[in-house]
């Protein structure tokens, strides 16, 4: 590992916010050496609880995160926040505006806010968000709040990795329960009906309750449904108390933990392999050739991928000293 990685890790351990922030960037960018760096950082982590906050766009997730973080700080906790926003698939750019709604936290030493763009599919938001959470954990945060829009597989994966998941719903988005995508309802540990001062909040509350009545999954404790009006700080102390209580009990999460670790291992390997395969294929120029062939309909994608796979396996056997060769 390079000296500058070691230097940054050392400074982070001494409490430098700047060093932490640089580490986050370099890990997010997958700078050479990032895995060795995370290897050093991982043993320092393991204390923080990870809370995922998800819901449809405009549900008030950032405002809610702001209120929760402020509440947690007032109880003496240190809080890290990862605010995820989508990257444009066209320009690759993104507008990260969640800080606007976190005014109460701007000047608190206990809070570190980091905005993250989803970047390309190959970037693997899921894994890099976990890495950043590990970094904040190692830095000494007691809680890491990850907020992300609950659309798209990758975003759901991010909150799935959390110790506790809040699903935020708001009245006035049609049938509130229908609007929640499959896969999101199932991961909720707490439902929050935000903007509870608005018309339709009571119906939404009842909708969620009746949906939970119909839930046949008996293994999981029934998630509480709480009302908040985050921009007026209504219901937030109660929400935080509920979060802390659930974290204390969190029975079902024990079984879940192994699944998470398994997913993380496979995910990490997958990302590394995919990147390597793509690099190799691009480097030897065969990828472009294959694209041209398929474009002209001289070849089909299936046989090309099978060929490539054979080629990779052969190379692996050659490299393996215990191999037959």
């Amino acid at each position: 590992m390079n000296a500058d990685w070691i230097d940054l890790i050392e400074k982070m351990r001494q409490g430098s916010v700047r060093a932490l922030s640089r580490l986050v960037s370099r890990v997010e960018n997958r700078d050479p050496g990032w895995m060795e760096a995370m290897q050093q950082i991982y043993p320092l982590s393991g204390q923080a609880r990870l809370i995922g906050i998800t819901g449809s766009p405009g549900a008030g997730k950032s405002t809610l995160t702001n209120g929760m973080a402020r509440e947690l700080v007032s109880k003496g906790f240190k809080v890290g926040i990862i605010a995820v926003d989508p990257s444009s698939p066209f320009s690759g750019g993104s507008l990260l505006g969640d800080r606007v709604r976190m005014k109460d936290l701007w000047d608190l030493d206990e809070v570190f806010i980091r905005s993250m763009a989803t970047r390309g599919a190959l970037g693997g938001l899921n894994q890099s968000a976990r890495d950043v959470a590990n970094l904040l954990d190692a830095f000494g945060k007691d809680f890491v709040l990850i907020e992300t829009v609950g659309v798209g597989q990758d975003e759901v994966e991010v909150v799935r990795a959390a110790d506790l998941v809040l699903v935020v719903c708001v009245p006035g988005q049609g049938d509130g329960v229908q609007a929640l995508k499959a896969g999101i309802m199932e991961i909720a540990d707490i439902f929050v009906v935000n903007k509870a001062d608005r018309e339709g909040a009571e119906e939404l509350f009842l909708d969620i309750q009746s949906m939970l009545d119909m839930d046949s999954n008996q293994d999981k404790p029934r998630p509480p449904v709480l009302r908040t009006t985050a921009n007026q700080n209504q219901g937030l102390p109660e929400l935080v108390v509920s979060v802390l209580d659930l974290l204390k009990s969190s029975r079902h999460r024990q079984a879940w933990k192994k699944i998470r670790i398994r997913e993380e291992l496979i995910g990490l390997l997958e990302k590394q392999l995919t990147g390597w395969i793509k690099d190799q294929w691009e480097k030897d120029g065969d990828l472009e050739k294959a694209v041209r062939q398929i474009e002209r309909r001289e070849r089909d994608p299936y046989s090309i991928v099978r060929e490539r796979l054979d080629h990779l396996m052969q190379n692996m056997r050659k490299d393996d000293p215990s191999g037959k060769r």
Partner: protein
């Protein structure tokens, strides 16, 4: 496999309440492929510095229409330096009288954009200044 993105903080220090210009710039920079952190109106210089550090941005763009550009910009420049982040490219846009431009440059502002600047100019200047910085980083 590294994928470095240019990160830009667009901030509005001080007391003026007009952020149309800042938002137009923020959208355009996003469309140019940057990761843009927009932090909202009426920020203190201290919270701008904190945001720049936490977000590890390459560029801080201040939008100032209030007439207080010298004081506010100096505070941000000094704050970044105090945090060891003086390589962050500082840009200022807004209503800036010509006679203040030399002073802003002395403070450390890399480019000053007054009204009439095209969005393209801003994009190009960010690319130029960040690339100017990056060889240092690449030599790690």
């Amino acid at each position: 496999m590294t994928e470095k993105k240019i990160r830009v903080l667009v901030a509005k220090p001080g007391l003026d309440g007009h952020d149309r210009g800042a938002k137009v710039i923020a959208y355009s920079l996003r469309d140019a492929g940057f990761e843009v952190i927009y932090s909202g109106l009426r920020q203190t210089t201290d919270s701008i510095i904190r945001a720049a550090i936490q977000e590890d941005v390459d560029v801080v763009g201040l939008s100032i229409l209030s007439g207080a550009h010298l004081t506010l910009t100096r505070r941000v420049a000094e704050g970044l330096k105090a945090q060891g982040a003086d390589e962050v490219v500082l840009l200022v846009g807004g209503v800036i009288p010509d006679e203040d431009i030399p002073t802003l440059r002395e403070i450390g502002v890399k480019e000053i954009f007054t009204s009439g600047t095209s969005v393209n100019q801003v994009v190009e200047s960010i690319k130029k200044h960040v690339h100017h910085n990056s060889p240092k980083e690449a030599g790690q």
